[in-house]
């Protein structure tokens, strides 16, 4: 479904991603690990084509079609969606308005907002005064209404309390399984792994992939020995 070929991305003249090769099949869930500044968020933003994250070299293919020159909204229309780590506040635009843009059936909106404890937030301005957890739930809510085939999730659990991680993880895990969606998920804490079925893990080091393999094993190595140790590990091979 998604194929990154020799992808290099520069941000403000500095090369952040050097030579990324990655394939994600339909329904596959890939976890992206890596220390701060390794280029994880940059990779997600480059796939979505956000400004300042243009492709310097290589290709981004989605269902065999190159995305490199397409604006964000066209990539989104082809079936890619992203959950933002730091979504902006937009005053005067209600969460409900955007929800209606994404989904015409108000019953679907109501059901999902209840499931994610967001019913009371529908009439509020987008992200205005939302807590960390509310923001993440609102992002997941919008993404699920958007129904992309490939979900890009940038630290879905950061700044969220344990209770809400469990709520979000459960909803997300069920959704990915039921709808057979593909996902590329960044996590630092690994909590999300308890709730979703992840197929593969990859580690980014200074803009390049290190090892790939069983995401739980990779996370365990990172947790016990840190990223430096993980860097040495090429046992399980490089991502394809």
């Amino acid at each position: 479904m998604l194929s990154l070929e020799n992808l290099a991305v520069a941000v403000e003249g500095t090369t952040i991603l050097k030579e990324i090769n990655l394939k994600i099949s339909a329904g596959e869930v890939v976890i992206l690990f890596g220390p701060n500044g390794s280029g994880k968020s940059t990779l997600l933003k480059a796939i979505l084509g956000l400004s300042g994250y243009e492709t310097a070299r290589g290709n981004i293919l989605f269902r065999g079609e190159p995305l490199n020159s397409l604006p964000t909204e066209e990539r989104v229309r082809k079936g890619i969606g992203m959950m933002f780590q730091h979504p902006p506040t937009i005053r005067g635009v209600r969460l409900h308005q955007l929800a209606r843009y994404l989904e015409k059936d108000t019953r679907v909106i109501e059901r999902l907002s209840e499931k994610l404890s967001l019913s009371a937030h529908l009439q509020r301005d987008l992200n205005a005064g939302f807590s960390g957890g509310e923001m993440k739930r609102s992002e997941l809510f919008q993404l699920m209404l958007q129904e992309p085939d490939l979900l890009l999730l940038d630290e879905p659990e950061s700044g969220v309390d344990m209770e809400n991680i469990s709520l979000m993880g459960k909803v997300l895990g069920e959704y990915l399984r039921r709808e057979n969606k593909a996902a590329l998920i960044i996590t630092h804490t690994g909590y999300i792994l308890e709730h979703i079925r992840a197929d593969r893990g990859c580690v980014l080091h200074s803009g390049e992939f290190g090892c790939m393999g069983n995401p739980k094993k990779i996370f365990e190595t990172i947790r016990t020995s840190g990223y430096e140790k993980c860097k040495e590990c090429h046992v399980q091979g490089r991502p394809e």
Partner: protein
């Protein structure tokens, strides 16, 4: 004139212009109406006995306490005003009466280079409550006209007046409204101002005097500034009694015109609360927005604050909406509509949807 004569008198294009400033000709959603064209009062009627709606001249002849009100608000505010006006409305809501549906008034410019000078008086007696929607507009023929509107509002003890003014002028019309509201103990005065269509020049600085304990005033404005427009629009609240509250909120968008958004809160008593918020959005490199907020007091136990912010549309906001599948134009348009949020106006539900529709129509034409 009668309703039938009025319908014959008003041409289709004038009817459209007048409606664009909030007039409902069917009167189904209104409890009374007043319509003046240039210097001539065309129509006035109250649909219930809770109130009087008259021309100012009729009120001068028939209302016994007329002299207790005429000019008195301006005098209390220390403002001089021209006495040589022609027409204007007189609205009185009687003691203890709540008028559920809004009263509508429209001041219309018809003739070329006409100088309309009106004087309006609105009295909300003790514990009465009313919504008033005033539209001011100009016909296609009214080139280079001028409108001076004097308004005096009297909100008596425990009264409530919600006054919405919609300006729908044309690019060569100059306008100078002057108004003073006197609010007594426990009374509330809410002023909503909407100006979305082109105009040559508007200069106004309406003032509310909070004279009794517990009185409140709020001024809310939505202003769109087209190229060639100068809008010098302020709101002032003088808090002369303790435990009074004031709020001034404005949103200005410039597509090339100049807007000066002034606000002045002056506390002459303690235990008051007052806030001023002024936001501007610049959509053109040729536009100008100038925010001038002022807070003033010699009392220590006051809670007064202001915030002012001017900027362009944030790229992050556009990209965020594009990431949900909106095109860049759609994203920009939804952000502007959000900025010009009718919810900042304290409107009754029926009027809110009308103003939202008017705004939608204007913004749709503009962006």
């Amino acid at each position: 004139m009668s309703k039938e004569d009025l319908n014959k008198h008003i041409s289709e294009s004038d009817r459209e212009k007048i409606s664009s400033s909030g007039m409902d000709f069917s009167e189904k959603t209104r409890s009374g109406s007043f319509l003046q064209e240039d210097a001539k009062v065309l129509f006035s009627r109250a649909l219930s006995e809770s109130m009087d709606i008259l021309s100012l001249e009729d009120a001068r002849r028939t209302f016994p306490r007329f002299a207790d009100y005429w000019g008195k608000a301006f005098q209390r505010a220390g403002k001089e005003f021209p006495p040589d006006t022609e027409g204007g409305y007189f609205i009185r809501v009687k003691k203890g009466q709540t008028v559920e549906l809004p009263i509508q008034a429209c001041l219309f410019l018809k003739a070329q280079k006409f100088r309309q000078k009106v004087h309006n008086i609105i009295i909300v007696e003790e514990d009465a409550k009313v919504y008033l929607i005033t539209g001011c507009s100009a016909s296609k023929a009214s080139k280079e006209s001028f409108h001076l509107g004097l308004s005096e509002f009297f909100v008596e003890k425990g009264g409530y007046l919600n006054f919405t003014m919609i300006h729908s002028w044309r690019e060569d019309v100059s306008v100078k409204p002057m108004s003073v509201a006197v609010v007594e103990e426990g009374g509330s005065f809410v002023s909503n101002y909407v100006c979305l269509r082109p105009v040559k020049e508007i200069v106004m600085y309406p003032t509310a005097l909070l004279e009794g304990e517990g009185a409140r005033a709020s001024f809310n404005s939505l202003i769109l500034s087209h190229p060639g427009t100068l809008q010098d629009i302020g709101s002032r609240v003088i808090l002369n009694a303790k435990n009074t509250q004031a709020e001034i909120v404005s949103r200005a968008v410039s597509t090339g015109g100049k807007t000066v958004a002034r606000g002045h809160l002056q506390a002459n008593a303690g235990e008051v609360k007052a806030h001023l918020e002024c936001r501007g959005l610049m959509l053109s490199p040729r536009g100008v927005i100038q925010a001038i907020p002022e807070l003033e007091t010699s009392y220590r136990d006051v809670d007064m604050s202001h915030e002012a912010a001017i900027g362009k549309i944030s790229k992050d906001e556009i990209e965020y909406l594009c990431a949900r599948g909106l095109s860049e134009d759609e994203a920009q348009s939804i952000i502007i509509r959000g900025f010009m949020d009718v919810n900042i106006l304290a409107l009754p539900p029926a009027v809110k949807s009308e103003v939202a529709q008017l705004e939608e129509k204007t913004l749709y034409e503009g962006f």
